[in-house]
Amino acid sequence: MSRVVVIDDELSIRRSLRVLLTRYGYEAYEAADGLEGLRLCREVVPDLVITDIHMPGADGIEVIAALHAMAPGLPIIAISGGDQTSALDLLGSAGMLGAVESLRKPFTVTEVLQAVSLALPCARAVRHG
């Protein structure tokens, strides 16, 4: 069973994502901010991380950079509610830092499940490569 860590400071998002992923056969974990997320990743060694961008403490961009240093090749999906034209929009930066997929909230169940299933082979390729 693939392990997915969901990092989002908004409880309703991380909780519903975790439950959704669990219902679809993933072993899902949740963290409330970037620092907790990094701690959790060290503990559970996930196959995939889904992280929000705008969070207190370590934000999603810092999380992505830290995860790349900690676990090179670990696929990361960045999610954000920032609009495309403002300074809040950091999804582009997430992609440049190596997030394999970026999803703008609100995304559909199909979109997130598709992104997860596409990203997980990346993890397997790295692990078995």
């Binding site: 400071d9 908004e10 409880l11 309703s12 998002i13 909780r15 519903s16 994502l17 975790r18 439950v19 959704l20 669990t22 219902r23 705008h54 969070m55 207190p56 934000d59 509610g81 920032g82 609009d83 034209t85 403002s86 809040l88 703008r104 909230k105 609100p106 995304f107 559909t108 169940v109």
Partner: protein
Amino acid sequence: MTLSSPALLVAANRAAALETVLRWMIHDFRNPMQTLSFLPVLTAVEAEIGEPQEDTPGWREAFTIACERLTTSLTLVDRIVGSVPQSTAPEPVALSEVLRYLADLFRARRGRFRIDVEGACGTPLPAVAAVRRDLESALLNLVLNAAEAAGPAEVTLTATASVRSGGVELVLEDGGPGIPEMLRPRLFEPFATTRTDRPGRGLGLYAARHLLVSSGGELRYEPGNPGSRFIVSLAEWGTLPGR
């Protein structure tokens, strides 16, 4: 009215500030919308399983929170666009209510900068003489200015209020990079800005001061350690001549 008339510059600034706030609101609506968009699928899966699972209370809690967030955001939008008194003459304004509104507006702003006006909200304050809408705009401008000047750095902004003889003094302090010395003499002039990458800005402090002075208040700057301190002086209602 000329192209550089104060009214026009203030209106331009008000529009820019409103745009910024509405962008925040878009962000605030997207989170609960995200959660609620999962509801039909999770409900269907739950019905298929036929009995509540261990984490069922968890996702029900998530939907309750999402609904609360939507309600809060809708209340704020209503406040921003619809419910603000439109008086153009100074009137008695409860400063703590204005600060509470700012606190609500910034409560959801996480990550890059933190706004703490809670300390000032609880202070017993007399009613001040102000045009409420202008006072809110001026204070919003001061907060936005701190965030803008800080660039990508995290900024903590705190507000404290104290009663002075005949009025109230509100101090807004930020932990940003502060105002460069060479800019200070023309800090409250239009288009004075440290940011060269955002054309058309640099009206926030000008507008804030204009709005405060035109309703009997004052605004001054002091260098912080680090960052900036903006001191807003407001007359207590009843102390201005003729009131």
